[in-house]
């Protein structure tokens, strides 16, 4: 343990840039690929100045072809590089879905470990920033269901950098989801240099005995706000920031639910097939006898993420979360 690590106050997107910078500096093999990541520094500036610093050989503006550059990234990963690929918005990852789910995630198993794909795919995601349609999807579940790839999502600058470094160091492919809505809405302390946040471990943000609240990414501030109001009404919430969406930290969930007996899961994605169901299944498997009420899901609806004129109606709000909290309390 270092005794005096410098600390900077950064936004979430700056923490990502810092994480990329740290790893590009540390490992020559780290190479960035994506649309507009060079001179432009990415449409969200996540790769700001990195091309200037590391050159065109290591920060590559690719042609507009997600399948092509994810596929090429796989070839590079197998051949000694550590590609960190930016998908401009998660909603534009679908053309690369085949490359991800039939190759990135299966090459290790297919070859019994002979060929591996230590690749990171970064993608801004989620609604709430008045972006055009498809830009606002939060479809982590279509990746977490497919074995062979990990999925993480930070909710604050510290985790953003730590999880990114962990993802780059992970020997397997990691989908790294970036909640756009939090890119610049909050700041936090971020240590200089290298540190990691372990993939697979959730983070307890608040301790309480009455209800377990589980959320991640952009839903964290909303959930904390709801927890605060609940507290003012005498309901004490255990708030878990999942951080890793695959694998999920089942132990922290079980422990909390066995304490509270009541659970509210919050996510932006559609209810059907959403990660809320994975969490219900974990509770079913680990904590059946402790449950005092059915798990309540406060989620996006089973409709496509609507145009932004309607998005406030789609997204979970502190009010809807509070309603869920009260529902499990009243059961």
């Amino acid at each position: 343990m270092k005794t005096s690590v410098d600390v900077k106050t950064l936004t979430l997107v700056q923490a990502i840039t810092d994480g990329l910078d740290t790893m590009m500096n540390e490992k020559q093999e780290v190479i960035l690929l994506g649309e507009d990541i060079g001179k432009n520094g990415g449409v969200f500036r996540a790769t700001d100045k990195l091309q200037e610093k590391y050159g065109e050989k290591r920060v590559i503006d690719t042609p507009l072809s997600e399948a092509g550059f994810v596929g090429a990234g796989i070839g590079m990963a197998v051949n000694g590089f550590l590609p960190v690929i930016e998908i401009q918005f998660l909603g534009f990852i679908y053309p690369a879905y085949e490359q991800i789910v039939t190759h990135a995630s299966r090459l290790r198993m297919r070859t019994m470990g002979h060929f591996t794909v230590p690749m990171v795919i970064r993608a801004p995601y989620g609604a709430g920033v008045r972006a055009p349609e498809i830009h606002c999807d939060s479809t982590e579940a279509v990746f977490t269901h497919m074995p062979g790839i990990k999925v993480v999502c930070p909710s604050n600058p510290y985790d953003a950098k730590g999880l990114l470094i962990a993802a780059i160091e992970d020997p397997d492919p990691v989908l790294y989801l970036e909640p756009m809505r939090l890119y610049r809405s909050l700041k936090g302390e971020v240590p200089d240099g290298k540190y990691t946040v372990e993939i697979g471990k959730a983070n307890k943000l608040l301790e309480g005995e009455d209800v377990t609240l589980i959320a991640w990414g952009a839903m964290i501030p909303e959930t904390l706000r709801a927890a605060e109001v609940a507290k003012s009404k005498g309901i004490k919430c255990d708030v878990i920031d999942l951080r890793s969406l695959f694998p999920i930290d089942k132990d922290m969930i079980a422990e909390s639910v066995q304490k509270t007996g009541r659970t509210v899961v919050v996510h932006e994605a559609h209810a059907t097939g959403g990660l809320g169901n994975d969490i219900i299944a974990i509770i079913n498997d680990t904590s059946f006898l402790y449950q005092k009420a059915p798990v309540e899901r406060v989620t996006g609806f089973d409709v496509p993420v609507p145009y932004f004129g309607f998005e406030d109606h789609y997204l979970p709000t502190p009010e809807r979360i509070l309603y869920g909290i009260e529902k499990v309390m009243k059961f």
Partner: protein, 356 residues
């Protein structure tokens, strides 16, 4: 390859006819209509940009500079044809008959903006790049199957040519001889990525060779070329000769969208130069002047008409009813599933309770 695909001009930047064989076909009426439509959509574009700056609509993708390509190609269409625009082709959509008010609604995050006027076969702007290209091929093929003479046009940018859907859509159309025009607006950039990083080829027109279909490269700021070449390609399409790829070389003066800062990646002086030399509206103006057809008062009238039309659309858009939350549930399926019914009821009850 560039020599195999020279950039065709019918009228040059000085407003002079380069290809005399078109002389007869370029009537005053036609040229004035080009002018009028370009003024109309440029007026719209600038207004939209300012609405965005004032926070009255969301992110906006301006097309200023590309009016020649959009007006010429859209005017070549017949009423029964299909149009598949991108987020930057609402100029073409408006020329083809879309409602200005609806286009503004679209940019204000309202699905209502995707509904074209009755009888107008205009798809919603394609957001995921190149995905509209196979749609256009399919809709065109359907017309062929029905035995009509309708065709479709797909708009897309230089960046879009890198996507698999570009390739698969054109291949499909070429094999099945679907009556479709693949209309590329090569504005040299895909957001910040210049053509030289997008492709190794110097032209987009040459990509037609992969599918053995005609490929044509035109000066996209020459509305005359855009019009006559689209017309010629449409005629072929209607005659069962299959698709054509048209590369209209052009330039956007502005940012990629209002979220973009082009100063980061290109020499912005280029815009000034191009405005002066190669502006599509200026070119028609010069032609009109050369022909002695330029009438100040008519031009004033056109400009005022455009402003009035756009202002009316803005008023209409702003008076449009607020988003109705029921709408996010009601159009997913013809008949909502139980999930949607339950979620709708719960949500409407919830906000009803909140609001009352």
């Amino acid at each position: 390859m560039e020599s195999q695909f020279p950039m065709k001009q019918i009228v040059d930047t000085n407003g002079k006819i380069v290809l005399p064989e078109y002389k007869e076909r370029i009537t005053a009426e036609l040229a004035k209509e080009f002018f009028k439509q370009m003024i109309r959509i440029r007026t719209f574009d600038r207004k939209a940009l300012s609405l965005q700056r004032q926070g009255r609509i969301g992110t906006y993708a301006p097309f200023e500079g590309q009016e020649g390509a959009q007006v010429g190609s859209a005017m070549a269409l017949n009423d029964g044809d299909w149009m598949f625009p991108t987020y930057r082709d609402h100029g073409a959509a408006i020329v083809f008959g879309h409602s200005l008010m609806r286009v503004l609604l679209f940019w204000n995050g309202r699905n209502e903006g995707c509904v074209p006027p009755v009888g107008k076969r205009i798809f919603p702007p394609g957001i995921p790049i190149a995905t509209q290209i196979p749609h256009a091929a399919g809709a065109a093929f359907a017309e062929k199957q029905k035995g009509t003479s309708a065709a479709s046009i797909a708009y897309f940018g230089d960046g879009a040519t890198s996507e698999g859907d570009f390739h698969e859509g054109i291949n499909f159309a070429s094999v099945l001889r679907a009556p479709v025009i693949f209309f590329n607006q090569n504005n040299h950039y895909a957001i910040s990525v210049p053509m030289s990083k997008q492709m190794n080829s110097k032209t987009i027109a040459q990509k037609s060779l992969a599918y053995d279909i005609p490929g044509i490269r035109i000066d996209g700021n020459d509305v005359f070329s855009s019009y006559f070449e689209t017309l010629a390609a449409l005629e072929k399409a209607r005659n069962g000769e299959g698709p054509t790829l048209i590369e209209a070389v052009t330039w956007r003066y502005g940012a990629h969208t209002t979220s973009d800062d082009p100063g980061r990646y290109r020499d912005q002086g280029e815009n000034v130069r191009r405005r002066e030399e190669a502006d599509p509206i200026l070119r028609v103006e010069r032609w009109l002047k050369n022909e002695g057809l330029y009438d100040e008062s008519w031009v004033e009238e056109v400009k005022e008409g455009a402003v009035a039309e756009v202002e009316a659309a803005v008023l209409e858009m702003e008076a449009f009813p607020q988003a109705n939350p029921a709408d996010i549930f009601d159009h997913v399926f013809a008949k909502p599933t139980w999930q949607i019914e339950k979620q709708k009821k719960n949500y409407l009850d919830f906000i009803g309770g909140e609001r009352s």
